[in-house]
């Protein structure tokens, strides 16, 4: 049942010997030890596990490792270039756009994915695009402000 799966993770080529139907979230968290991607519901309803696959946001809890074969996966740990944070991460800090922080990686990754697909999203479109990512602490207003700020910087 073990396959050799090749893909790129945070710009590093990877080759894993795993079952093709291993859950992507668990592979990322436990095999690859990147625990910034979180388990929140296991059904794709909260967005805490969002990662980028070929620049598009997906819910890792709903994917198998074989789904990312030959693709490029980016997790929250892969956004900063060394010490230099991604503009989205910077904006989240500056706008104080988090409380417990558990949903934060998924929020940041999903927002980047949305802007990858369409850099010119309006605030209303951003709200809609983010609506499947849940934050129980209620930081939504600040998260939107952070995304708008980052969006301007990324375009500018």
């Amino acid at each position: 049942m073990q396959n050799v799966i090749q893909f790129k993770l945070n710009n590093q080529p990877m080759e894993l010997k795993v079952n093709g139907n291993a859950n992507l979230l668990w592979v990322i968290r436990y095999l690859l030890q990147l625990t910034g991607t979180k388990y929140g519901c296991g059904t794709g309803d909260c967005g805490a596990c969002t990662v980028l696959v070929n620049k598009e946001p997906i819910k890792a809890c709903m994917a198998y490792i074989e789904d990312v074969e030959d693709k490029e996966v980016i997790t929250i740990e892969g956004l900063a270039k060394g010490e230099d944070l991604h503009p989205m991460q910077k904006a989240f800090i500056e706008k104080d756009a988090m409380q417990c922080g558990f949903c934060t990686p998924g929020m940041i990754v999903n927002a980047i994915g949305l802007l990858n697909a369409n850099p010119g999203l309006s605030p209303e479109e951003l709200k809609k695009g983010m609506d499947q990512n849940l934050c129980r602490c209620g930081s939504y207003g600040r998260i939107l402000a952070a995304i708008s700020e980052a969006s301007e910087r990324m375009n500018g």
């Binding site: 139907n21 668990w26 388990y39 989240f92």
Partner: protein, 704 residues
């Protein structure tokens, strides 16, 4: 399972003596009891072993606290008060939180108590440390203490600033120094950091994915546990059939009473295995469900307990010109933190080391030790961030489960509850009925108030309006709730505030008065009046104002943990489909000294946003012990699309005791939205959440 939420300060363990020995060089300041700040002292805190801070050889400072960071921002505000009194930069502070072997005992992080009761302790400890350094500096520099001042971690001669010595130089090679008796605290006019907006100190860790939560600990050889669960939380395990999993490589099983778990190094394999296990359960007969529960409460012959009274309510009733009698209903609500209950445990040489998502690290240590028959010093709870708590992580079922499992296998074990488990074993905010009868007299003032809350507590139920004849009681009966209940952000207060403020609005209506003016007429307490006036001003309130068609405004007042809250909101009601959209919320709070206006604003916004969930959509469906709302797809919490514009005004008083801001803003949300709906369309809502069906029914009944 026992929990320990009612403890105040318990005795500090003897092994803290070892802790002091274990620490390396640096100056550890021991806080002396009996230094009252804002009139607060902690009687039972033992003087020895209560180290709250250590200034290290590199000049950085460790702040030790038994409190945990679950989003409420105390990792920033506590660092602020320490940096203020110690005279160091805030980025020199390292937070050591909730580690049961490093931190002083703490009963738990709940009840908005960290800021009012813990800040003063940290301030006093830091002030002591500052004075210790002045003393040490005087010796080192050979200058009288009077001539010395401190700034930015440096003790200097006021006659010659170049004549100085840093804390780092003073701490080199030193071990432990006792504190001085009565440290002098800074006055508010000298504050550099308290009262200034400070961004979260944990943000860098949180935006890079480096912040460690209990499930982010990955230990070598760690096994993932999955537990066989019934459909009803109160079912008892009768038998387990494991025949279908016997040939799975590397699978281990653990049975301990009702607990049956499978373990595997792959979470996928563990998950597939647990599904194949067949179990028989003995499920108690269902007592009621989410629809019938209110009648069930009323029919359960509850016992009344009075929490306040004055005058004579019967006389008040007989000489009132208008009497209103109503009942208000609120269903069960889940905590629904995005991080589910999680624990990681390693059992080695007879000792358990654990990372637990808990609001009560010391309570968890005790509960685990008792459940396993271990001495408490054989259980060590280590520091982790919490992915939300809201009262739901006061209880520690997952920690006891993982401890039972980990002590029976030879490898470390991690247990992350599934979202289903999180709902099934939640200790919900209780469903409740509130009965109010009250009346107004010829002057249009409230003449009597008779209040009865069934099956929830009295927090937030005490009347702050001026009423000559009043009586407030709670009614309940043990073991009546069909679901497990517990503390939910400002317990019982949102339910009580919804009932009271809806009723006050109807009294205003009966008196033919604007709801703000009516409230002002019935109030004397300046701590209630100030935020009401501030919120009305910010909102742009005018007496009897009307908004565009379909829109309405509302007002609500509340009190929680001695914080007074005034809130106004604007809503839009769709009369065709019953949808309610909250457009704008303005909140004013009188909460004493605001330590971190930035973080406190965040708490207010968070409380309001979370509150929109209980007001509009959140409702646990169940039948007996079977919880039917088991994921976010059938338990709708607030989302981006729910979020209104939010403005906050603080009634700041830098010289008074700081009060907790994690809970109060949530209490008015149901009431303010309900009152705004009434203003928008004349439909009075008596039951939360205000679902489209209920709004439509209310419109048909009495709407304009």
């Amino acid at each position: 399972m026992k929990t320990y939420i009612n403890e105040t300060d318990g005795p500090v363990n003897k092994d803290r003596r070892d802790f002091l020995k274990k620490l390396g060089c640096g100056v550890v300041v021991v806080f002396s009891v009996g230094t009252p700040i804002y009139g607060i002292t902690r009687k039972s805190v033992l003087e020895d072993f209560n180290a709250y801070l250590r200034v290290k050889e590199d000049g950085r400072v460790d702040l030790f606290t038994g409190k945990v960071e679950m989003g409420q921002g105390v990792c920033t505000s506590l660092a602020q008060v320490l940096a203020e009194e110690l005279e160091v930069a805030i980025d020199k502070v390292d937070m050591i939180m909730g580690d049961t072997e490093l931190c002083p005992f703490d009963a738990g992080t709940w009840g908005s108590m960290t800021t009012p009761y813990h800040d003063p302790l940290i301030r006093a400890a830091a002030a002591e440390a500052r004075e210790v350094f002045i003393k040490m500096g005087a010796e080192k520099l050979g200058i009288p203490q009077k001539r010395l001042k401190v700034e930015n971690g440096v003790v200097y001669d006021t006659a010659d600033r170049n004549n100085n010595v840093s804390y780092a130089e003073l701490t080199k090679g030193k071990k432990v120094i006792k504190g001085v008796a009565k440290p002098k605290l800074k006055g508010s006019s000298d504050f550099r950091i308290i009262g200034k907006p400070v961004l979260r100190l944990d943000a860098m860790q949180k935006v890079t994915g480096k912040a460690k939560y209990a499930g982010d600990v990955t230990l070598s050889g760690m096994l993932h546990a999955r537990i066989k669960r019934p459909e009803a939380y109160n079912a008892k395990l009768v038998s387990v059939d494991t025949s279908a999993i016997e040939n799975i490589n590397g699978l281990e099983t653990v049975r301990d009473g009702d607990l049956f778990a499978v373990l595997h190094e792959s979470p996928d394999v563990a998950q597939q295995a647990i599904v194949k296990v067949k179990a028989k359960w003995d499920t108690p007969k269902a007592k009621t469900d989410d629809v019938k529960v209110f009648d069930y409460f009323k029919d359960s012959n509850p016992e009344e307990e009075e929490f306040e009274s004055g005058g004579n309510v019967e006389e008040g009733r007989s000489n009132s010109t208008v009497v209103l009698e109503e009942e208000y209903y609120d269903g069960y609500k889940a905590h629904a933190s995005i991080e589910t209950h999680t624990a990681t445990a390693e059992y080695k040489d007879g000792k358990l080391t654990m990372w637990v998502s808990t609001q009560t690290p010391f309570g968890t240590r005790r509960a685990v030790a008792e459940a396993l028959g271990l001495p408490q010093d054989k259980v060590h709870i280590r520091q982790s961030f919490l992915g939300g708590g809201f009262g739901g992580k006061i209880y520690n079922q997952q920690a006891i489960e993982v401890a039972k499992i980990a002590t029976k296998v030879t490898k470390p074990v991690q247990l992350i509850w599934s979202r289903k488990e999180e709902f099934l074993y939640d200790r919900f905010r209780p469903a409740a009925v509130v009965k109010i009868s009250s009346g107004i007299n010829t002057e249009g003032k409230i003449n009597f108030w008779n209040y009865n809350v069934l099956f929830a507590g009295d927090r937030g139920a005490k009347l702050f309006y001026e009423v000559p004849n009043y009586k407030g009681v709670t009614s309940s009966r043990k073991d009546t709730h069909p679901l497990q209940t517990g503390a939910w952000r400002a317990p019982s207060n949102s339910t009580n505030t919804f009932a009271r403020e809806s009723h006050i609005d109807m009294l205003a209506n009966a008196a033919k008065m604007d709801p703000v003016e009516f409230r002002l007429k019935c109030l004397k307490n300046p701590r209630v009046i100030k935020p009401l006036k501030a919120v009305a001003d910010k909102f742009g309130w005018k007496p009897n104002m009307t908004l565009d068609s379909g829109r309405g405004w509302g007002v609500a007042l509340g009190e929680d943990v001695n914080v007074y809250v005034a809130m106004m909101a604007e809503v839009e009601v769709d009369r065709i489909n019953g949808d309610v959209k909250v457009r704008r919320v303005v909140c004013s709070q009188d909460m004493g000294q605001v330590v971190n206006p930035q973080g406190t604003r965040l708490q207010v916004e968070g409380g309001i946003t979370m509150g929109l969930g209980y007001a509009l959509t959140e409702h646990v469906r169940f039948e007996g012990g079977k919880v039917k709302s088991l994921n976010f797809s059938d338990y709708e919490i607030a989302r981006f699309s729910t979020t209104p514009e939010i403005e906050t005004v603080f009634i700041d008083d830098m010289d008074s005791q700081p009060l907790g801001g994690g809970e109060p803003s949530i209490i008015c949300v149901g009431a303010v939205v309900g009152n705004a709906i009434y203003n928008a369309c004349g439909a009075r809502l008596y039951q939360m959440p205000f679902t489209p069906e209920r709004v439509l029914a209310a419109i048909q009944k009495g709407g304009m």
